[in-house]
């Protein structure tokens, strides 16, 4: 407790970096203590960047990351359940930050996706024909895995954070309180620890967000819905043969299903279904669809026992994800709708870390410097909701689906020409660009004109035999005695 008392003493100072700061405001200084609750991507990114920035300005901080999971363990115990796609934009941002994802972590580098529809399917490659999307396992691998050939993505990030000097506390935080305005953290059987800043990075798949609700900070956890992920073992050769280095996405007319993908990863194929309350019957109808069956070896059926889970995903952001000395990053704060959640964890975590080091840790600091990042994601999600409504209509309408297929196929056959539909679909499915940018591109007259034309052509082609049949039937009827 001596350590805590020292840390609390004199942790107020006037920031050297923000001259609008009022005297007596809350800020970190040498030997300030920071608690990061949760060692998923958001917690690790926050810690990594906080310590990186602090080192740049020669500030010494003590950071404890609390994480109960051992990411070296296979199965659900070591896994933060997700599709495991590291988006094209995040791969690039991390590379610019000096974080290169090694092939000991990336199980499959992805260079294209295949869009499956009832009529047909089409392959869309990255503009530069380059592998810029990473498929990873968040833990050491699925339950029942025979041999661990790759490292956990979350474990890799946590090691990066520890490498910057953070201290990893293996344990679940089961109580949080405030003492004289400062956060106090308690694990089962541990002694209470006081901090100058508390960072919540607990995601939405545990009861931890409730610990914060009771503090009366105005924080309300995000609203979530149930999704589905499963892992099927095939062995590297079969995965290569059936999925190659493409992510396979499906535009099927199945109610409540917003997004469905098959992702190749080492020896496994990951199935990921997002939408509203994905349940057993919906998973079954998906797996029974002929478009899906085509992606698996003939005669394959779902095994008796396989690793699967139903994690929660956000569809509405948290309310008030900051307070004096407390900030919420990643899923438990604000994230992107259905796509690039890890990318959003990086953006929110880094914005919070930059705020804490260069501005301060009061609610006002976070409101001014951290909230704009969250607000931008929220605003973009509203446009994303609109895009998903349109996608749902397209899923229902066979003419629209054929129009898309025709437009994309023609673009892919002519690599020199404009790839308007291909890039729109690429960015929607991979989450590589903000929804706003994608939406603006769909309003371009050339996009709309081309799409409309392709719908008309495919519709005429589709109904022409029908007209012909009807006309022939009429003739026969007229000729009949």
């Amino acid at each position: 407790m001596q350590r805590i008392a020292t840390a609390f003493h004199g942790s107020r100072r006037t920031s050297d970096f923000d001259d609008t700061r009022l005297d007596g405001a809350l800020a970190l200084e040498d030997d300030s203590r920071v608690a990061v609750i949760g060692g998923g991507p958001a917690g690790s990114f926050f810690t990594y960047f906080l310590l990186d920035m602090a080192q740049r300005i020669s500030m010494r901080l003590e950071v404890d990351i609390y994480e109960p999971r051992d990411f070296a363990v296979t199965g659900p115990a070591g896994c933060n359940m997700c599709g495991g796609i590291i988006s094209e934009s995040l791969v690039q941002h991390l590379a610019a930050e000096g974080i290169d994802l090694p092939s000991t972590v990336v199980e499959r580098a992805i260079d294209s996706y295949v869009l499956h529809m009832d009529e047909s399917d089409v392959r869309i490659g990255t503009p530069l024909q380059e592998k810029r999307i990473a498929a990873v396992h968040r833990g050491a691998g699925p339950r029942g895995m025979k041999e661990a050939k790759w490292r956990s993505f979350d474990g890799y990030l946590l090691d990066l954070a520890a490498g910057k000097g953070a201290h990893l506390v293996r344990g679940r935080v089961d109580d949080i309180s405030l003492k004289d305005g400062r956060p106090v953290v308690q694990t089962q059987g541990g002694s209470p620890q006081g901090y100058d800043l508390l960072v919540a990075a607990v995601g939405v798949n545990s009861s931890a967000p409730k610990l914060f609700e009771k503090l009366g900070l105005g924080y309300k956890p995000p609203r979530t819905t149930k999704t589905y992920v499963s892992e099927f073992y095939f062995g590297q050769e079969t995965v290569e043969k059936y999925l190659g280095s493409s992510m396979h996405v499906f535009l099927l007319h199945l109610p409540r299903l917003e997004f469905a993908a098959l992702i190749p990863k080492g020896d496994y194929i990951t199935l990921c279904l997002l939408g509203m309350d994905i349940d057993g019957p919906l998973v079954q109808s998906f797996l029974n669809a002929p478009e899906v069956k085509r992606c698996f070896p003939p005669g394959w059926s779902v095994p008796q026992d396989f690793c699967h889970c139903s994690p929660k995903i956000n569809f509405q952001a948290a309310t008030q994800p900051f307070a004096d000395r407390v900030v919420f990053v990643g899923d438990c704060g604000v994230t992107r709708l259905y796509k690039d959640g890890i990318g959003a964890a990086y953006r929110t975590a880094k914005a919070a870390a930059v705020t804490a080091v260069f501005s301060g840790v009061s609610a006002e600091d976070f409101r001014r410097h951290y909230w704009p990042t969250c607000r931008a994601i929220n605003t973009d999600n509203n446009i994303g909701k609109l895009i998903f409504i349109v996608t749902r209509q397209i899923q229902k309408n066979a003419h629209d689906r054929r129009g898309i297929l025709r437009m994309v196929s023609r673009e892919q056959q002519n690599p020199e020409g404009a790839r308007r539909m291909s890039t729109v679909l690429w960015d929607v499915f991979t989450g590589s660009a903000p929804y706003r940018e994608v939406f603006v591109r769909t309003l371009h007259p050339c996009f709309l004109g081309r799409f409309l034309w392709d719908i008309i052509v495919t519709t005429l082609v589709a109904i022409w035999p029908l007209h012909r049949d009807r006309a022939e039937a009429r003739m026969r009827w007229k000729r009949a005695p």
Binding site: M53, H93, P102, A109, E130, A134, R347, K350, V354, S432
Partner: protein, 131 residues
């Protein structure tokens, strides 16, 4: 086969960027080595050899100009492209993303300064009257 290797593979001797061409992206080396060459007429001058984690092509991102040197694979190498638009959009949101690029650039200026001093002192030595 390295199924998890991100970026694009360049064969030995393959040119990644060519001096004088317009550039709208930069690169981060993921594996192997690349040599940076300055072409002066028919002569090729090797400026440096870059390895894993090194960045190149960043100047074109900021000054919008042409590539100042040719970069060629030395043996098989793999590099990841960073698009100008993706990068600058993010720098606009988070200027601290540019720290590492600035670090690389200042490191290069230091190297150039060292090189300049060496050349100047060689020149002075050559010009000095021998006794």
């Amino acid at each position: 086969m390295d199924m998890g290797g991100l970026g694009k593979v360049y064969r030995d001797g393959e040119i990644v960027v060519r001096q004088g061409e317009m550039g709208d992206c930069m690169f981060v080396i993921q594996a192997g080595q690349l040599e940076v060459l300055r072409e002066e007429g028919a002569r090729e001058l090797r400026l440096t050899v870059l390895g894993k984690g090194d960045i190149f092509g960043e100047m074109a991102l900021f000054d919008g100009g042409v590539r100042s040197a040719t970069v060629r694979a030395l043996g098989e190498a793999r590099a990841l492209t960073l698009d100008k638009r993706t990068f600058l959009r993010r720098v606009h949101e988070d200027p601290s993303l540019a720290f590492r690029i600035l670090q690389t650039m200042s490191h290069r200026i230091r190297q150039l300064n060292g090189e300049l001093v060496r050349l100047k002192s060689e020149q002075t030595e050559m010009a000095a009257p021998r006794g």
